[in-house]
Subunit: 221 residues, 2 copies
């Protein structure tokens, strides 16, 4: 079993829960870090001292605090830790089960397992730890169904920028200018209109405002 595990998780009750699992698995050294920066420093230190962590169990979102943090999300934390220590095992343990988020994390190839905090989360976490230790990877049925489900749709970059500009208050004319300045094509007014019309049809939106709310709810923008 893993010898040295770092847990980056801010909510104390969940830390308690994770703790009981790790005790049960007889992990000799467990370190809890309620802040991302703290987790980063501990991992860096351990690596420098040649006693690196084997596994990171990591939440995705951390509440802001009076402390001002450099690293504010689990994603960033994972990215920097992996770049320092590419062989570090990573299990995401998060309440976040929105298809877009899960897919984007999973596709980043930076994690060995993604476990959702839910009614059976702890036993899944336990299974994940064992599986990652043995096979290097674990995916719960819930996550698998989320990823294979037809409920996720990736919006191309062009569409996303266009829609974000709209959402941020630019008019279509201003977007045209912006695109021309930044060399993004197609940039013509006509193409922008056409693209928006397509999107409205694809997502069954009555109006552009409607389209934006739909896409925001789907977290596509």
């Amino acid at each position: 079993m893993f010898r040295k595990i770092l847990v980056a998780e801010d909510i104390d009750s969940i830390n308690k829960g994770i703790g009981t699992v790790l005790e049960k698995l007889d992990v000799p050294e467990v370190c809890h870090a309620p802040y991302c920066d703290e987790a980063y420093l501990k991992a860096k230190r351990a690596l420098k001292d040649k006693v690196p962590f084997d596994l990171l169990i990591c939440d995705l979102s951390f509440k802001a605090d009076h402390r001002t943090e450099k690293i504010t999300s689990g994603r960033e934390l994972i990215r920097v830790l992996k770049s320092n220590q590419p062989d570090l095992g990573v299990i995401v343990y998060s309440i976040e089960d929105h298809p877009q988020t899960v897919k984007s994390i999973w596709d980043s190839k930076a994690v060995n397992a993604y476990v959702t905090k839910d009614r059976k989360g702890l036993s899944e976490l336990e299974a994940a730890i064992k599986a990652v230790y043995n096979d290097g990877v674990y995916m719960s049925s819930r996550i698998a169904s989320i990823l294979t489900g037809s409920n996720l749709y990736e919006l191309p970059d062009y569409e996303v920028t266009l829609l974000k500009h709209l959402a941020n208050g630019l008019t279509q004319d201003q977007i045209e200018e912006r695109f021309k300045k930044e060399g993004i094509t197609p940039s013509s007014r006509s193409s922008i209109e056409k693209k928006l019309k397509e999107l409205r049809e694809d997502f069954n939106a009555q109006t552009t405002v409607h389209l934006i709310t739909i896409l925001k709810d789907l977290r596509l923008i």
Copy 2:
């Protein structure tokens, strides 16, 4: 101390955390319900058997499942339980700290305490249980600062309906019709335009699309 506590919370790791607190406080009877319906049935049964719960510790959001639930949120659960048993103590224990949500829950007068799940959540929960037992009410400093902070603004009903219709894809003309049919005033096209202009100015929105995204992010609609 309380004798009989019902915990409505779906995430197992958090149930573990709450459990340790309640053990520490020597609560003789603790019942965990990972589903709202289950919590409802248990409370109803206990009341019928003349051994009602003293206190409900309740999450706000519950993950959907294969089970189809009648009650799907903590808010609803609190509402129905309080209507059956008005003297039931209620502590909300939620990760949700968005000003709008907190304010609306607190203003409903249905809860005795609101504790946010965070780094110190468990000790706050402990303090809340004691305080509710002794004084009937508890507010953490975090919640107090959220509620007194200037960061919350309530949007009047009229504005909310107007904006929701917009977000749901109605044109301003259609909204006018709708308002006339439903007897909502002002209903004229001109008034609708004027109101939207006001809102854009109030929230520094460049366009109506921008306004909608701002308000959605603030969860005012």
